[in-house]
Amino acid sequence: MAGSLIKIDEEIASSSASISLGATDWDSSYDVYMVKINDMQFATDNASLGMRVLASGSPKTTSDYDTAAKVLRSNAAFANNALPNYDRTYLTYIGGSNVATESLNAVIYLFNMNNASEYSFNTFEISTFQYTGVLEGSQGGSVYTVAEAHNGVQFFAGSGNIASGTFTLYGLKK
């Protein structure tokens, strides 16, 4: 029997300023998409990881991203990350690590991306290390509050490049 998780695009970072999934590779025949980030390292210590939606292949940079997440961490009480009207979705809380063993890993689901009359939503689960060497993972979601169609997502570091990592986009078959 054929499976229902279908790979659409995959990009491997190599000192990359940003990574985009979709754009010309986008397949609009799905309602729900999954993004897998595996073994990602920052080039610069204490960097954040941002995510933006793409419209016609270009990242949307307006301050219309709302994010809500619970930040799990092994050294302190968990934090609430409430970020209304930002110019990106923040997938990290405390800055991330550039140590090779302390990678960032994530599963993200994207919803309503092809629907021009509704917002595009996502949920995310992250497991990584802070630059301080503490286990951290945000669990939450975000929305881009502009009703338009989107054809991908972009990932980028708040400072410096993405040194390495594999980014994969899947469609969930209807």
Partner: protein, 175 residues
Amino acid sequence: MAGNLEFIKSGTLITPTPYLEIIDCFNSNYDVYKVVITKWTSSVTADDTRLRFIDNTNTKISTLNYDTADIRLKSYNSNTSEDRYVNNSWITTFGLDMRNTADNIGTVLYVYNPTDTSSYTFCQWQSSFHDVGNGMSSIKGIGVLKLTTEITGLAFTSNGVNNLTEAQVSVYGVK
């Protein structure tokens, strides 16, 4: 078209033992794995559902190299519970105090980079379960094994000593 979520193997407890071990479920064909726990019953009050990784010599890693952070949401009150462990001997907790057969669990766990000897092995999970003392809870958690050892398997347990009476786990590769 072939899919990119591929079944690898499953493990079911046959006789009561302290561990359900699934060896050789990780290999170089995948970097990310989806693990699903569909049955779990333990024999002793307040036992957790915990995880140790198995290395490429089929040895359970029980050294103090596991960090965990998880949050528990409860149906029976509005409080949440936070667990934080640094340098522990296992990853915990997926579920708690499931002594009756009906007190089951559903867990989806992702495991990252188990066979990559240049990175730690990370994981994250969501569980929903019913414990005998209180009722339904949901847990979201993250964990890491801070070793670069090649990991090839999983060992689920309640506390390493007391028997499990029911356990079933399936492992899938995310290609």
